[in-house]
Each structure stands twice: as C-alpha cells, then as structure tokens.
C-alpha cells in the first residue's frame, strides 16, 4: 500500500476543503441572494468543472500558473519556486475543480431557508452577517455538511487535473488515484486492487453520509412552520 500517496491525498483534500468552505460559502451566499441580472454567468463559470474534461481544466490551470504567467511569476518572486508540479499548484487546481461541489449544495440549502425568517431577523435589528451566522447557516447545516463531504471526496478521487498540473512526484504530487494508475502500469494488480478497494469503500461511506443526512433534512423540514 502506498501510504505516502494516501496521506498526500488526505492532506490535499483537507486543505482544499478548508479553502472551499472559506471562499465557497460567500460565493454560495452571493449566488443565492444576488439579484444581479448577469448572475447566471457566474453560476455557469462555477459549474464549468462539472462538464469540462479534467484535462482541459488542468491544461488551463497549468498555463495559468506556469512560469510564464503573471500568477506563476508573482508566486515565484514571493516564494522562490514555481507553482506548476508543486503541492500548492495542486491545491489551486483542485480548488477550482471541486468548487461546484461545495457551492451548489450550499446554494440549495441557503435558498431553502424560509425567507420570512431572514426578514424577521433584519426587522429585529440584525445585520446581514449576523443573520447569516445565526439564522441561515444553522438552518443550512445539512447543506454545509454535504458540501464539505462532497468536495473532500471529490478532491480525494480526482485524477486528470492532478496529472496535468502536478505530474507524478512521490510525496509531493503523487495522489492516491495516480498511485493506482502507476500500480496498474507496472502490472502490480494486487496492490492496485488494495488501493482501489480503499477508495471504493471511502466513497461509499461518504455518499451514505450525504444521502442519509439529506433524507433526514427532508423529513424534518415541514415541521418548521
């Protein structure tokens, strides 16, 4: 078992998941409550990774963070090394790739919060931030958990984007899905099978959590009048 790859995947997923919650939550809030007429353009951009081949996304991220790009150069000037084929580069690519899986469940959850509760909060003198933290977020708990779990799991299992942006450097960018690919390439089917099993069980557990939660939320919802 390639434990360094598994650990790397877990680390990558945790970091990406953290950033997704930090940045995805305000995006989801904006998508839910903005009345801007061109909002759908932002929604489309956020959802792009769902339909785009990972290689396409990976290719553009690679170009975008490469040593020729402004971002790549700025990063190199600041940190002393480039972004491509590093863990940091992988975080950026994975963040973009998993963004819809964080934003969409939260958008759905936020929009299901009864609008009158939000109005009641502001009539009672609460600011938008306070309303969000005390009312919208707690009532969207299941949506936020779904977003966390899905984006974590999605990052865990990605392949194409990682290969494009990170390459295959053991301990740095070699994630668990790449490890399986390697094991198959070197005809070590037994090792590939063990790793694949682990990933399969993990994914099943994650999806059970998500669906279990959502079923409960639907059963609880009508009681809240």
């Amino acid at each position: 078992m390639d434990w360094s790859a598994i650990l790397l995947s877990l680390k990558l997923s945790s970091v990406v998941c953290g950033f997704l919650l930090l940045i995805g939550t305000p995006i989801a809030y904006w998508v839910t409550f903005s009345r801007w007429r061109w909002k759908f353009l932002v929604e489309s951009v956020v959802a792009l990774p769902i339909v785009l081949p990972p290689t396409v996304l990976g290719f553009y991220v690679l170009v975008g963070i490469g040593s020729q790009s402004p971002i790549g150069r700025a990063w190199a000037a600041w940190s002393g090394h480039g972004l491509a084929f590093t863990f940091e580069g992988l975080v950026i690519a994975s963040f973009l790739y998993s963004l819809p899986f964080a934003v969409q469940p939260m958008t759905v959850a936020f929009s299901q919060v009864e609008h009158q509760l939000i109005e009641a909060s502001s009539v009672l003198g609460a600011s938008r931030l306070r309303t969000f933290i005390r009312i919208i977020l707690p009532l969207s708990r299941n949506g936020v958990i779904t977003a966390t779990v899905l984006s974590f799991a999605h990052t865990m299992g990605e392949f194409g984007v990682v290969l494009m942006v990170g390459g295959n450097i053991p301990g740095v960018t070699r994630t668990v899905s790449i490890a399986i690919y390697d094991q198959v390439q070197s005809l070590d089917y037994a090792a590939a099978n063990r790793t694949a099993w682990l990933l399969l069980l993990f994914s099943f557990a994650v999806l059970s959590v998500v669906y279990g939660l959502n079923r409960k939320s639907l059963a609880v919802w009508p009681l809240q009048r």
């Binding site: 009864e114 009158q116 509760l117 109005e119 009641a120 909060s121 502001s122 009539v123 009672l124 003198g125 609460a126 600011s127 306070r130 005390r134 009312i135 707690p138 009532l139 009681l223 809240q224 009048r225």
Partner: protein, 369 residues
C-alpha cells in the same frame, strides 16, 4: 409619537397601493379583505418593501422619503413586526428567540429584559423549548414577546390571532393592551375579523384595492358601512339594487322598490331623488319572520313571503325566503320549531326601517385624503 404614512407602491398592472394617513399612539385596526393591500402596507412601513414614492415618518424622524432619497434600512427602523406565520426561528429556544433582538444590549440587562417579558406573557416555563414543541397560542405569545422586548417605536401585527380560538385570542389581546398602557406607541393591527376590531380598535382604517375606503371609530366604519365591500366584511348578508319610489322628508324615510320585483320597502332617508338607483343592505339577523300577518307593530316593513329552504348550521337556522327577491334570514332552531316553519310555507318578513343600510356601489369610493 405619531406614525405618518403617505406612500404609493405599484405591485402589478392592476394593483397599486396608494394611501395617506397618520395614526397616534394606541391600536389602529387595518381592516380589509385579502388582497386589499394590508400586508403590502405593513411591509412598506417596516422597510421590507420599498415604496415607489412617498414619505414615512415616526414622530419627526423620516424613515423613507422618495424626494430626499432617505431610506432607513430595516434593521435601524426599530419597528416591531409580527408576521402572519410568526417567523419564529425554528432552531433557537423560546428564550433565544426573544433575546435575538437584544443584540446591542449588554448580556445581563438583555437576560433581565427577556426574563421580564417571559414572565409578563406567562411563558417562562417554555424558555428552553423549541418553537415546534409548543402550542399555537404559546407560539403567538413568544412571537409577540420577541417583537415587544426590543422596545419598538411602532408595532405592526399582521393578522396575529387569526389561527387561534376565541379565549386564547382574548387573553393575548389583554396582554397586548396591558403592555401598551405603559408604552403608548402606535400599533397597526391587521385583521379581517370583526370581533378583533371591536375588542381592540380605537380607530379603524379600511382598505380596499390599495386605497383607503374610510376611517374612524369601529362603530363608524363597521356599524354604518357606506360601501358594499365593507358591509360584506361587516356581516351584511342581503344586498339589493332598488329604485326610489317616494320620499317622505317629514318622517325621514323613503320608499323604494326592489329591482326585478314589486316588493316595496321603507328605508332611512338619504340624499337622493325619486327614481334614483340605490343599493341597500340588511343583516340576516335583523329580519323577523312572522307565521301570520302581524298587527299593532312599530316595524314599518311587513312583506309577504314564502319559505324556499331551511338549513341548520351550528346553533343557527339559515332560511332562504322569497319576498319578490331572495332574502337570507337567520333564526334560532327554537324559533324555527315553535313557528313550525317548513319549506313552501307562507310567512311575513318584518323589518325595521332603520335596520336597512344604504351602501354605495362598489366602485364609487369616497376617498378620505
């Protein structure tokens, strides 16, 4: 403290709110059928909806002014608002719901205020319960306490008691009265229940189709409705188009014929001419049924009629009676029995002149602006 409102808000091609009024401290009832614009009006005052134009003031403070582009945000208006569905926060306990509006306060006084109001609304025992664990009447109290604890400058209630039984309603009304005896702020109370109007209101503003139809004391507005829509809300069941046949200035009455019939009735005098088309109304409970022709009676209208149908509804019998035109008459089951009333029977309808009300046609509205 006085709430002054002058606002216009178009919601759709065929509905626009256009009202101007000011109310002093005390309870003012906003009365009208559903769709008349009551809730829209409250939402504009609270700042949840932006008027197209106009001005809203509490005392001297301007909350909204389209000319000077003042629009105080909802959270700074300090208005208490009780939503029709209460909008209690389902994930917070009763105490936390009430404390929610006291964010600016220090922790200890906030808890003290919460305790006091829990006490005065008799809901202390529920403090740790969630809203879905308590009864409808209790929820209503919690919502009211939550709105009042912030010490609002104006209180607005959107049909707060419509879902409750009568004893619970009365209790809550008493609580509200007791609370406002000390504060004396303007309270705008939306309802379409007559009982609440009489129990609560010092003033009534009646709204129809976004316009103020009339305003005054509950007696002025509901007992002598000058508009058919109001009369219907105030419980008048019988409406007839009629033509004035003769006028008697001495006795202050006039005789009119119900259109489409030969039946003539005496009604109170009004400023019309012989031949005028008018519309008159009478409550089903104000008509007496006589089994044989009554003699030596002060009532001036004794109309021969025939019973069409009788049906029991709760503790009341509703009779449909043909007296040239169809009348609805309400009587007690006992009266119905002792007269031995049955369909097809010949009877007489006895109606006092002053039980009749003249109502203006629906669209002719006398705007009080």
């Amino acid at each position: 403290m006085k709430l002054s409102v002058d606002l216009q808000k178009r919601l759709s091609a065929n509905f626009a709110l256009d009202v101007k009024f000011s109310i002093p401290a005390g309870v003012t009832i906003l009365f009208g059928a559903s769709g008349s614009g009551k809730t829209t009006l409250l939402r504009c005052v609270a700042g949840l909806l932006r008027p197209d134009s106009g001005q809203i003031k509490i005392g001297d403070q301007i909350l909204f002014d389209s000319d000077t582009r003042v629009d105080v945000p909802v959270r700074e208006r300090k208005i208490g608002f009780l939503f029709q569905n209460l909008a209690l926060f389902p994930h917070l306990s009763v105490a936390k719901n009430i404390e929610y509006g006291l964010d600016g306060c220090e922790r200890t006084p906030a808890q003290q205020l919460t305790e006091n109001i829990l006490e005065s609304f008799r809901i202390s025992a529920l403090r740790n319960h969630k809203p879905n664990e308590i009864s409808g009447g209790e929820r209503q109290r919690v919502a009211l306490a939550r709105a009042l604890v912030t010490d609002p400058r104006v209180l607005m209630l959107d049909e707060p008691l419509s879902a409750l039984d009568y004893p619970t309603q009365s209790q809550i009304i008493e609580d509200l009265r007791a609370w406002n005896a000390a504060r004396d702020i303007p309270i705008l109370y939306v309802t379409h229940s007559q009982r609440e109007v009489f129990a609560l209101g010092e003033r009534v503003i009646s709204l129809e189709n976004g316009k103020i139809l009339s305003q005054g004391t509950p007696q002025d507005v509901l007992e002598a409705p000058t508009h058919e829509s109001l009369a219907q809300l105030a419980g008048f069941e019988n409406f007839f188009d009629a033509t004035v046949v003769s006028i008697s200035n001495d006795s202050g009455t006039m005789l009119c014929r119900l259109n489409g019939a030969t039946t003539e009735v005496e009604v109170p005098l009004s400023r019309v001419e012989v031949g005028s088309k008018i519309r008159i109304a009478i409550r089903a409970g104000d008509i007496i049924i006589a089994g044989e022709f009554p003699r030596a009676l002060s009532a001036r209208n004794i109309v021969p009629a025939r019973i069409i149908s009788l049906r029991r509804e709760g503790t009341m019998v509703i009779a449909e009676i043909d007296a040239g035109r169809s009348f609805e008459v309400h009587l007690t089951p006992g009266a119905c029995e002792s007269l031995g009333l049955k369909p097809e029977q010949q009877v007489w309808l006895v109606i006092k002149t002053h039980s009749w009300r003249l109502v203006a046609a629906r669209m002719v509205s006398v705007r009080q602006r």
